[in-house]
Amino acid sequence: MSAAHPIPRHRAYRLLVTAAFRAEFQYGGNLLLTLAGGVVAQSVGLVFLWTVTTRFGDLGGWPMAEIAFLYGMRLTSHGLLVVPTSQLHSLDLAIRTGEFDRYLVRPAGPLMQLLCRRVHLPTLGDLATGIVVLSLAAHHVGFEPTPTALLYLGLALVGGALVEGACQLAVASLSFRMLSNLALRGLIDDIMNTFGGYPLKAFPDTARLALTYLLPVAFVAYLPAGVLLDRADGLQITPWLAYGAPLAGPLLYAAAYLLWRAQLRHYSSSGT
C-alpha cells in the first residue's frame, strides 16, 4: 500500500513557497538589493505621473493628489498580484520544456505548482512602492480612515489585484493551445500598466468604454478610487457598478480559473 496521504492545500502551498524562497536565496539573492531595484524600476512610472500632473494640473477633473491616490491603489493592487503570481509568465517556458508534465503527476494543483516554481523578489518593490505612494496620497487627499472606508479600500485593493490577475490568467490559459501568445500577453500588461493608474474620464468615450467593458481596467482602481474620493457621480457609470467594483475581481477570477481548467485539457506535453 502506498505511504502517501492527502494534505490540505494551504499546507502544500506553504511547502512550495518556502522551497521557492530557499532556492532563491541559494543563488545568494539579496533581499534589500533586489527590493531597491524594484523601487527604482517603479520610480520611472512615478516620475512620469509627476511630470504629467504638474504639466496639466489635473486630468479629467482629478487634481494631482487624487490621481496619486488612484495611481497608488493600482500599484498596490498590482504588487499584491505579482508577488505571488509572477511565475505565470513562465507558463510558456514550462510547457515548452516539459516542466509542466511534472506538475501533473504530483498531488497538488498544477496552477499552484506553476506559481510556486520560483519567487521573483523585485515584485516586492512594486508592492512597497505602491503602499508608500498610496499612504502619502491618502494623507494629501484627506482620506478619512473610518472602518467602512478602510474595509472598502482593502476589498478594492484585493479585488483590483484579482481583476488584473483574471486577465493574465485567461490569456495565459490560451498557451495550452497556441504555440506562443507572448504578444497578446504583452499587450494586455501594457494596457493595464499604461491606463490602470489614471482617471479614465480623461480619455475619449470609446477608449473609456473599451477599458471598462472590453478589458476591465476601470475595475482595477479607477472605479473604487472614485467611490472613496467621493467622485462616484462623475464616473459616467451606474453607481451600483462603481460601488460593487471590488466584487468584479473574485467573479472574473473564478471565470478565468474555469477557462484555465478547460484549456488545461488541451495540454499536449512536448516531444522528448
Binding site: I7, A23, V105, L182, S269
Partner: protein, 335 residues
Amino acid sequence: MSGPIIEVEGLAKEYRRPVRVEGPLGGLRSLLSPRHVTKRAVDGVSFALAEGELVGYLGPNGAGKSTTIKMLTGILRPTAGLVRVAGLVPWRERERHARNIGVVFGQRTQLWWDLPLRDSLELIGRLYGVERARHRATTARFTELLGLGPFLDTPVRQLSLGQRMRGDLAAAMLPEPRILFLDEPTIGLDVVAKERIRDFIATRNRRDGTTIVLTTHDLDDVERLCRRIVLIDDGRVLYDGDVARLKERYAPHRRLVVQLADGAGWHGVRVPGVARDDEADDAPGQVTLRFDPAGTRVADVITAVLARHEVTDLSLVEPGLEGVVHRIYAARGAA
C-alpha cells in the same frame, strides 16, 4: 484485490499541432482560425497488467511509448479509449492518481533544480503526506541502496546525469507508490550506474510488490528485469507476452560454438537439423553450429562434435533479445 491494476483498452492519442499563422498577432489568429496537422501517435493499444508485474514497454523511436506513459500517468488526456490505473481514470482524478504512482523520465528531472537533493526528498515526503518516521526510514534505506550519501547536499543542477537519475528514482519511490512508471531510466548511464539502478528496480518489484512499467532502448535492461514485454510500433501492439516465448517465435535457433584444438580440422557433423551458421563471425579454429532445440537434442549435437573432433572449448549460446528485436524491426521495415 483481484483484477488488473492497469487496464488499457483501444487507447489512442492524436496530437493536433496548430500551424502558426505569420504576421502581427499571429498567435491570436492561429487561435481564432486554427489550422492543424494531426499525428496519431498511439492507435488502439490494449493490454492489462496484474499487480506486481514488471513489464518492458518497447518499440523503436517514435513508436508511441512515451505518449502511452503520459496517458497512464495523467499528463495527457486520451483521444479515444479507456485507461484505468488502480481503479482511477488518470487525467480525470489526477491528484488521487498521483498518490498511487511514481514517475521517472530519464530525459528530465522531477527534482527541485536549485535545491540540494536532500531538500527535494524532504519536500516530496511532506507533499505526499508521508508519515515522518516512515519517511526518515525510507530515505535512509534508499540513500544506502542507491549510494546517494556523497551528494545529498549538492544542488540538483550540479549533479551528474547518473547521480541525478538515482536521486529521481529515490524521489519517485519515497511515497512507496503502488505503480512505478520509468521512461528510459538508464539512458546515458555508465555500466555501474545502470547496474545499480536495475538492482534497485528489481528489488522494489520483488520485495515491495511494486507494479512497474519500463520503457528502454537498452535490451540488457529488459533481459535483466522483465519477464513480459509489450512491443509496439507506429502506435500499435506488435507483441505482448513472455520474453522467452518471443525468442522462440522469432529466433528459435540455439548456437553451439566449438573451439577446435590447434591444427585440428573441421569434418562436419551428421546430425539432422544441425548446420554451420553462415551468419557467425568465426575466428580461426572456431566453428559455430545452429540448430532448433525443439527438434534436436543439445546432447546429441555435442556428442557428435566430440566424436569426430579434438575440442578445447564448447559454449552454448542462447538467442539474445537484441537479435530478436532487430529481426522484428527489420521485418516490419520490409513489409
